[in-house]
Symmetry: C2
Subunit: 336 residues, 2 copies
Amino acid sequence: MSATIRDVAKRAGVGVGTVSRVLNDHSAVRASTRQRVLDAIKELNYVPSQTARRLSSGKTMMIGLVAPFFTTPSVVERLRGIESVIGESDYDLTIFNVESEDGLRDCFQALYGREKADGLITISVGPTEAEYLRFQNANMPVIMIDGDLPYLNRVSVDDTFGGLQATQHLLKLGHTRIGFVSDLDKERLGNHSTADRFLGYQQALTRAGLEVDNGLILAGEHGRHAGYEMGFRLLFQVEGRPTAIVCTSDTYATGVLQAAYELDIDVPYELSVIGYDDIEMAKALNLTTLHQPLFESGVLGANWLLDQLAGETTEMEKRVLATKLVLRGTTTRPVS
Amino acid sequence: MSATIRDVAKRAGVGVGTVSRVLNDHSAVRASTRQRVLDAIKELNYVPSQTARRLSSGKTMMIGLVAPFFTTPSVVERLRGIESVIGESDYDLTIFNVESEDGLRDCFQALYGREKADGLITISVGPTEAEYLRFQNANMPVIMIDGDLPYLNRVSVDDTFGGLQATQHLLKLGHTRIGFVSDLDKERLGNHSTADRFLGYQQALTRAGLEVDNGLILAGEHGRHAGYEMGFRLLFQVEGRPTAIVCTSDTYATGVLQAAYELDIDVPYELSVIGYDDIEMAKALNLTTLHQPLFESGVLGANWLLDQLAGETTEMEKRVLATKLVLRGTTTRPVS
DNA sequence: AAACCAATTGAAATCGATTTCTACAGATTT
DNA sequence: AAATCTGTAGAAATCGATTTCAATTGGTTT
């Protein structure tokens, strides 16, 4: 079918080894020889076979991306950042979607062999320490985005600070009864960011001299509907109803907004709502939220992995990106 | 490192050919021999090397997914459907994001060699006929989702009917000045769905005995902001302002809604807006829209490709899924 | 001019499977 | 009992690169 390295060698009147050396510019090849080889390559329209290269070099030139892609829109935004970097590199991107704990284990299991990828990026989920050691043995670098497993190189945002910022914003406006809508008790798949955000929420309240009221703290499944249900539960009560709600995702916030709408509670005057992530929808809904550098986190993680694949080794490290409060129309001072 | 086929052969006291035959159960192997090989495999914890298998068999066990992933949320929903099928198969999914015409050509160029994938799924974009012939020569099946290139196997929705449904809904409510916000004149990357929706829009008007007013038909870039600008242009004029707007995506619709909001035009009473896609955001915004079977389209396309990779050949074909009108809060009869 | 060294480069081994080709056993036919 | 099949299975070629090893070349050193 298409030309092989042997054809090129014959054409240029050299050995296959020399052609390979020209391709990878490993050791020295005389300029004139190199030119002859390059000419032959051009004439034959030769493209080296990735597959063969893989087998002999032991590299797959693939990067595996492990993530629960479809639980939240934010994962996609991170993916975008990753793709923008990997797409420009010599590597290709293979995606592994995980939807459950079992799926995650199976996924890592399948990746140990270095057969599917040279390195891994994970989003929100991560290997156990034992699993990570196996990757380390196989010399496969792993970068985790949005997570905080201490034995991994990881990119995260300062979620504690994010929770603090969100809550303090509401406190400054004068709110004292502030609800918290989250997926807290889930903590599944190794993602601690919700717990950190909750920590920030607590800190803010404590610093303001307020007590944490467990009745205002809810946790549920993922998704808009869960947000709606939690919002409804918080807002249905007439006495002691919160005047503001911190949501750990914009998706939840949209659910809360709907609950408020159905209960005929005016946002922002009767209820302030703040989200987290700053996804596209947040702009459309004019939602005050905490912007996460999602795209940037992908870029950072991907570049980091490429550096490691290029041989650069660094100390185990956590690289932290900052969140930013984005003021829009769903928060204001409470009517008193 | 890990055991190879030779180790297994030695252990079982057979030749490598026999082991391979057991692995792929090609030709007959005596039951007792087979058992010995299977035992050896288990004892050595042997897993065949994908990479080596690729080289000798010429199959990559990869499916390439070519799409403009980040232009619209709907692509991600389709991806979800695809992943749900491919994830269960023996194939892995490699994604190729394309952001421009050039990028698309380069991408196909890189895929001809069968080095990166055994088959291709494309979303919204597709190869030219010449490009497709090269894939055909390489015996690589291609399935296009959301497009209508006649030389391809393709999954699409009946966009003409969709445009018709949307427009007729507004006509039935009593609207006569109906705007159309789209990316019409772009038609780039081989995607004809917008043109079809426009066709439906025209048909609906014509059947109702109305003239098509070019002043009400706008086209622009992708994205919310473009929708905002087009909405603004349509709504800014006081005389002859449309009482309803058909948008070719929900994303546009959100932009139009914002324009209406800023111009203090009440939706739905002063302006009806209908979107297209039924993305998550549409529910949050209570947007009337045309639901597309996005997830299902991915499932259908992926299964189809797997069938073809398994050797099944069918006539060149277009498989059409139906759209569905979803009534929500942004359309009502005009105030007259 | 002999000896030596460095830069090049070809030949061959290797990666780990699949697949073809051939050989051998035992069963069946004549 | 000789001849012919058929079912099994081993040996070796193959896929298309990389990489090691050894050989050659030419230039330098003494």
